[in-house]
Every structure is written in C-alpha cells, then in structure tokens.
C-alpha cells in the first residue's frame, strides 16, 4: 500500500507541507518563533543547453498592500 502523496511530491515536499500545517496550528508565541525558523527565500533557475531559464521563487513572498504608508 503506497500513500497517495507519492504520486505528487517528493518526501521533502511532503514534510514541508506537514510541518507548515503544524506551524499554523501552534499557539501565537510558539507559532511566531517557528515561522522565523522556517523562512524560505531561496529562488531556483532551471538550465537548458547552457542557458539559465527564468528565476522562480520556491515560496513566493507575500505581497504587502499597505496603501497608507508614505514613500519616504
């Protein structure tokens, strides 16, 4: 019997999803501490024939929409 997640993702991705769910379930202070430990800012780029493709974020950064902040 093979788990269903194997069809879609690798083990690393599976644990990432599971740990993200766990982090979101923690109480406030623990959650903030855990989120700091789990920050991902890495970008990747696939190469073909010696040419790099476009760079994508592994975890796209959350877009900040704060219309009230002045530019300076």
């Amino acid at each position: 019997m093979s788990s269903t997640w194997r069809e879609f993702m690798s083990w690393n991705k599976y644990t990432q999803v599971a740990s993200r769910a766990l982090r979101q379930a923690l109480t406030e202070t623990d959650r903030v501490a855990a989120e700091k430990r789990a920050a991902i800012g890495v970008r990747y780029q696939l190469w073909e024939n010696g040419q790099g493709g476009e760079q994508n974020y592994v975890v796209p950064p959350a877009k900040e929409t704060t219309p009230g902040t002045p530019p300076v």
């Binding site: 690393n12 990432q16 975890v59």
Partner: protein, 289 residues
C-alpha cells in the same frame, strides 16, 4: 659670466614647471587621501558587522553539524561494491551570492573543476557567484541553480526546498557529491567533498537487507539524507563565508591604513617642496633686482 646670466632664467622656468607639477599632484594626493579614508571607514564597519554575525553563525553551525554526523554514520554502514561502469555523478556546489569574502567562491569552483576533470558529471549550484564562474567553465553541465541564500543563517526548510528541487529537476544521477567549504577555524576554511547516499545504494546495502521494508522507504531516506547534507553544507559554508569576510575586511582596513600613512608623508613632502620652490622664486627674484 655667460652662464651666470642664463642661469636665473633657466632656473625660473624649471622652478615654474616644478611648481605647477607639485600643485597638480598635491591636489591628487589630497583626493586619494580622502577616498582611502572613506574606504577604511567602510571596511572597518563591515569587519565589525561580520564579527557579530560570526558568533550566531558559529552557534548554528555547531547544531547543524549533528545532522551531518548522522548522515555520515548512515553512509559509512552502506558499502558499495566496485562500480562496473562510471556512476553518473551530480555535483552540488554550495556557496552564496555575496562578495567581498576572499576566495570562498573560487575555492568551490576550483574543487568542482578538479573533480570534473577525473569524474565528469552534471552540476547543481547554490549561489550567484560560483554560478557565474561555473557558467564560464561548463555551462552545458549545469542543471539547476539557486540564489538568495546566505543572507541570514540558512534554515532546514531552505535546505529541504533545495533538495526537493534537485530531486525534481536535477536529472538522472547515481551519486551526489556535495562540494562546500568546511569551517576549520575563525581564520581558515577549506573546500571539501561529501558523498550522499543514493536510494539504489541503500537498497543494495547489506545492513538494509536484514530488515523487511517497502521500496519507498529507501527513496525517502535518500531524499532526507540529501536535505540533511545540504543543510550541513549550507550552514558550515555560511560560517566560513562570514569568517572569510571578516578577515578580508580586516586586511583591507590594514592596507588602507598603510596607504594613508604613506600618502600623508608624500603629501607633506609635496607641500614642503612647493613652499621651498616659492621661497626660491622670491629670493632669486629679489636677488635679480
């Protein structure tokens, strides 16, 4: 007598030329002195920042080394029989995007070049600086590259994401070799190659056969081992880079101080020469009257 009448005119001309030369270089020396002074301030502050970051990076590295030790234990217990044909190797070069850190990135590129000479394979690279160097060396061999790592202490989540991407898009491989900088001390580092166990080798290992396990377990373990190894390499490389940056900035500050001392002496000598020439002008002018 003839010479004596000519001499003052020639003297004045020569003194005027020297004076103009002296004034021009005096301004240049002043500018150089100002710019070197600014550079010294910048390198000194960069060194202080690197020193403070180093303590945190070292602490993270001590914790991360335990992950790597567990990995190596596993690898030791799985011997591989002599390979019939050349195994397909994927080299993972681990460094960062930042500069001004001495020879950190070049040491990774040099290690990969050396390995590729005897055992060619494909390359995955973490960091913009080694990526640029490797793209000049072997662009066809690069399969995937990563950046925006290393600004802060790397997390296991990042290492896991990198490992996941390598497994998804790294192509086919029998063996993975991670090339990273090992932190020897606060002033020295060295590049090293670590092998990561592959799923096939795990399944074939004698110790594994003793247990009844599903096939998937060895694949999962291999992927976890890869994430572990990448994490250790990232954190150790980060610590090595910070210590190298501290050393490089310290050397730069010392060089800047030496330059300032010699420039200052040159400036004083130049200033005194200008004053002396003006005096000569005045005196010869007065004596000619």
């Amino acid at each position: 007598m003839f010479a004596r009448t000519v001499r003052p005119a020639v003297n004045v001309a020569r003194v005027a030329q020297q004076q103009s030369q002296g004034m021009a270089t005096l301004r240049e020396i002043e500018q150089r002195l100002k710019s070197v002074r600014n550079i010294e301030k910048i390198t000194k502050s960069m060194k202080v920042v690197a020193s403070t970051k180093l303590t945190r990076a070292e602490r993270a590295m001590r914790e991360a080394k335990k992950y790597g030790a567990a990995n190596n234990e596993l690898f030791k217990h799985t011997e591989t029989e002599g390979a019939e044909e050349q195994p397909k190797i994927l080299y993972v070069g681990i460094s960062s995007d930042g500069g001004l850190c001495g020879g950190i990135h070049s040491s990774i590129t040099r290690a990969i070049k050396k390995e590729m000479a005897t055992n060619p394979g494909t390359i995955a690279v973490v960091g913009d600086k080694p990526k640029a160097q490797l793209a000049r060396f072997a662009p066809q061999a690069i399969k995937v590259s990563f950046n925006s790592v290393g600004k802060d202490v790397p997390t296991f989540a990042e290492a896991s994401a990198i490992a996941d991407e390598i497994v998804k898009n790294g192509g086919e491989w029998d063996e993975i070799k991670i090339v990273s900088n090992k932190y020897l001390s606060a002033i020295s580092y060295e590049s090293g190659v670590t092998s990561v166990i592959s799923a096939k080798a795990l399944q074939a290992a004698a110790g594994f056969q003793a247990y009844e396990m599903e096939e998937d377990v060895s694949k999962d373990l291999a992927e976890f081992a890869l994430a572990n190894a990448v994490y250790t390499a990232l954190v150790e490389g980060h610590a090595a880079e910070i210590s190298a940056r501290r050393t490089a900035m310290e050397n730069a500050s010392n060089n800047a101080n030496d330059m300032m001392a010699s420039l200052q002496l040159q400036y004083n000598r130049g200033r005194q020469a200008v004053i002396t020439n003006e005096l000569i002008d005045i005196i010869t002018g007065a004596s000619a009257l």
